[in-house]
């Protein structure tokens, strides 16, 4: 299993499984199953440096919601890593949900990651990245044209 990230490899922490981490919540890295309640991390997000979310199969998309809640709702800013069924055709979705590092066995994953942000220059909905949805870009254009 190789580790990839856009910004080069981050400093390494050993992520404790959620059950173990709960016994030592001062530890900066935790690994969640996709059924673990991310809301429980709320008091700790400022201290955490690494959260690992699991895709037991690539087709099981629960961790996308966990990621968005961690980034958007709880304001987590540390490393957010996807592990398990992580394939290059999901990178664009994962980046938009706030993941920034990836464990994958798929050959060519690194090259795909380098290209992932160039696949779609237009998005239709707000998520956890910097892309501005088409509807807002249209509105800004209309307002600029009117003023």
């Amino acid at each position: 299993m190789a580790l990839y990230s856009e910004a080069g490899l981050p400093a390494s922490y050993v992520a404790l499984p959620f059950a173990d981490w709960k016994a030592r919540p001062e530890w900066p890295a935790v690994s969640l199953a996709n059924t673990d309640p991310v809301e429980d991390l709320a008091p700790h997000v400022g201290r955490l440096r690494l959260i690992v979310l699991d895709f037991p199969r690539f087709s099981d998309g629960r961790a996308y919601s966990q990621a968005r809640l961690l980034r958007g709702r709880l304001g987590y800013r540390g490393e957010l890593r996807a592990t398990g069924g992580v394939l290059q055709d999901q990178i664009a979705f994962m980046l938009r949900c706030g993941f920034d590092s990836f464990e994958s066995e798929q050959p060519g994953f690194g090259e795909a990651l380098a290209r992932a942000r160039t696949l779609f220059s237009v998005v239709y909905q707000p998520a956890e990245d910097d892309q501005v949805p088409a509807s807002l870009r249209r509105l800004e254009q209309a307002n600029a044209a009117a003023s």
């Binding site: 690539f58 087709s59 099981d60 998309g61 629960r62 996308y64 919601s65 966990q66 968005r68 709702r73 394939l87 055709d89 999901q90 664009a92 979705f93 994962m94 938009r96 949900c97 050959p107 060519g108 696949l119 779609f120 220059s121 237009v122 998005v123 239709y124 909905q125 707000p126 998520a127 088409a134 509807s135 807002l136 870009r137 249209r138 509105l139 209309a142 307002n143």
Partner: protein
């Protein structure tokens, strides 16, 4: 009178839409290349092709093209005809989800077919796979006399929000949304994962009733009201909240229990509501709240066409009504009132006697496009009943439209009648099916071909599915027919009393033991005879059934077999 092609009166792509669709085609082209080169396994490739509308059927790949909210320009329909000729066998199949299916696509051609679709601002994204599917709406939208607000404005807003949604592309199961803007629901909102019904409250504000957890398939359920009244500008925040609850808590251990209806059923609608409302409380007034400017900009694109004044009655129509009984029946069943006097909504029946329901050849599609350009503002609708609709036809032009449709074979005066059958593709095409649907539909259609008899029988909806997945909506047919396989023999289970109308939505009740294919027509005949004997003045089939119950039907059917 033929005139220059007018501008469309529905959503027009801009550069953002075109860029996204063409980048999606490029992405899929690369995925197909990697599949053909062996870099992707079929298991890895499957969701990617499904998300682009490509199924693997019994004999070949099938491409399911999205027709968002069933609205289509004549130019787009011509392109569909062209694509069906170039990449398929020169015909297509309109479905109950307002999509068009091409049944004989080659994998290596699929990216080119999608690129050709993109030329007319269309795509096949999310027409299959475990994601939010093509959003459907009332097929009379923008023309209906009873419309509170055009549901397509909201369907387009939902289409954009749901397209390539990063969080909801790997849901537990598929997710279907339907929207109606009329009190007479023609979009079947109670049998969708989410149904949205626009209505006006006591304060005079228009908002959505949000209905959740309806659906057919192997566990048919009528949707329940999740929220009575949702302000329109919070639609996306509320949908995102509901989808997030479903994505997190929907079952993934059993394919057949993975739809949101099972989650709602298992936790109860009250718990579901609490979860969604808690999520919504955190999402409302946020990034998904729709700015007035955004709503207005989309609504402007659906502004009704400026229809020139035309006489409300026509001597020609009246004369032909008296001299031509088939035309008179056609006016009754295939022509609906329009909100503008002097105009009408015309349904082209894709169910001529003995033909596969919903099929159209490339030449027929082009003929329909011609008629739309000459008489209906170059616009068309696809109905979930698998017919095509001309939304804006002048009353004066009805005889001409009838004549031109007759040339195409689409002037059958049977809309809403016993031969206006909904049927899934069945075992002739589908890898899931247990039994054939189309030949059964064809046999019933031939048997009841007499228009006078059909009109005497009146409104009667037959819906046929070739397996328990219920793509033919048999549960909500007045007469539902379900193909089952018993030890290699195709049998058909008959149910009665299903209904999809709002306020009366009901799942049909199984009549008795399944019958063999050669007995289906006799069985339907016995059911119809029972109704004709028992009906009271003006009573429709389903009303008689509700009054007298299944017993008389049972006796007639099983006594006579």
């Amino acid at each position: 009178m033929r005139c220059a092609m007018p501008d469309t009166h529905f959503y027009k792509y801009d550069d953002y839409d075109r860029t996204l669709v063409s980048q999606r085609v490029d992405q899929f082209r690369d995925q197909v290349r990697r599949r053909l080169a062996g870099e992707l396994t079929e298991e890895q490739f499957k969701p990617l092709r499904l998300h682009n509308g490509l199924y693997l059927q019994l004999h070949a790949y099938m491409l399911r093209i999205a027709i968002p909210y069933g609205t289509l320009s004549s130019r787009q329909l011509r392109k569909l005809a062209d694509i069906s000729r170039r990449y398929d066998r020169g015909y297509g199949h309109f479905t109950t989800r307002q999509n068009l299916q091409l049944n004989w696509i080659k994998l290596e051609d699929a990216p080119d077919a999608l690129a050709a679709l993109a030329e007319v601002d269309m795509h096949a994204m999310q027409t299959s796979g475990n994601c939010i599917r093509n959003v459907t709406a009332d097929h009379y939208a923008g023309a209906a006399i009873d419309e509170i607000e055009d549901p397509r404005i909201w369907a387009e807003i939902v289409r954009q929000w749901s397209t390539l949604h990063p969080e909801f592309t790997f849901l537990p199961r598929k997710f279907k949304i339907a929207i109606t803007g009329s009190p007479n629901d023609r979009a079947a909102v109670r049998v969708h994962d989410i149904g949205l019904r626009l209505w006006r409250n006591e304060q005079g504000e228009i908002g959505f009733e949000v209905i959740v957890g309806g659906g057919l398939g192997r566990t048919p359920m009528i949707g329940k009201t999740l929220r009575e009244f949702l302000p329109k500008d919070e639609l996306l925040a509320y949908l995102e909240s509901t989808l997030r609850v479903y994505n997190r808590y929907g079952r993934r251990d059993n394919l057949y229990k993975a739809r949101i209806k099972i989650l709602v059923h298992e936790v109860g609608v009250e718990t579901m509501r609490e979860e969604v409302e808690a999520e919504y409380a955190a999402n409302r007034d946020g990034a998904l709240k729709l700015p007035a400017g955004t709503i207005e900009a989309v609504a402007r694109q659906f502004a009704p066409p400026d229809l020139p004044p035309r006489p409300a009655t026509s001597g020609l129509v009246e004369a032909q009504r008296l001299s031509d009984p088939d035309f008179a029946l056609w006016l009754k069943s295939n022509v609906a009132p329009h909100r503008v006097p002097g105009y009408a909504i015309v349904t082209a029946s894709l169910k001529p006697a003995g033909a596969p329901p919903g099929d159209a050849s490339a030449a027929q599609m082009e003929g329909v496009a011609d008629i739309a350009e000459a008489y209906s503002q170059a616009e068309l609708r696809v109905s979930h009943e698998q017919n095509l609709i001309f939304p804006h036809v002048a009353v004066e032009d009805l005889p001409r439209v009838y004549r031109e449709l007759a040339v195409l074979g689409f002037a059958e005066a049977n809309v809403g009648k016993i031969t206006d059958i909904i049927a899934c593709p069945g075992l002739d095409y589908c890898a899931l099916a247990n039994a054939r649907s189309i030949p059964v539909a064809q046999r019933i259609s031939n048997h009841f071909a007499s228009l006078a008899r059909q009109h005497d029988i009146g409104d009667l909806k037959i819906k046929i599915s070739g397996c328990i997945n219920a793509c033919g909506h048999h549960h909500v047919g007045h007469i539902g027919i379900l193909g089952v396989d018993k030890n290699g023999v195709e049998l058909y289970q008959i149910s009665l009393g299903g209904d999809v109308d709002f306020g009366r939505t009901a799942i049909g009740t199984i009549l008795g033991p399944a019958v063999t294919a050669d007995k289906v027509v006799e069985t339907v005949d016995a059911i119809v005879a029972t109704y004709l004997d028992a009906r009271e003045d003006g009573e429709r089939f389903v009303e008689t059934y509700r009054r007298i119950g299944p017993q008389p039907f049972k006796e007639n059917v099983y006594g006579s077999l």
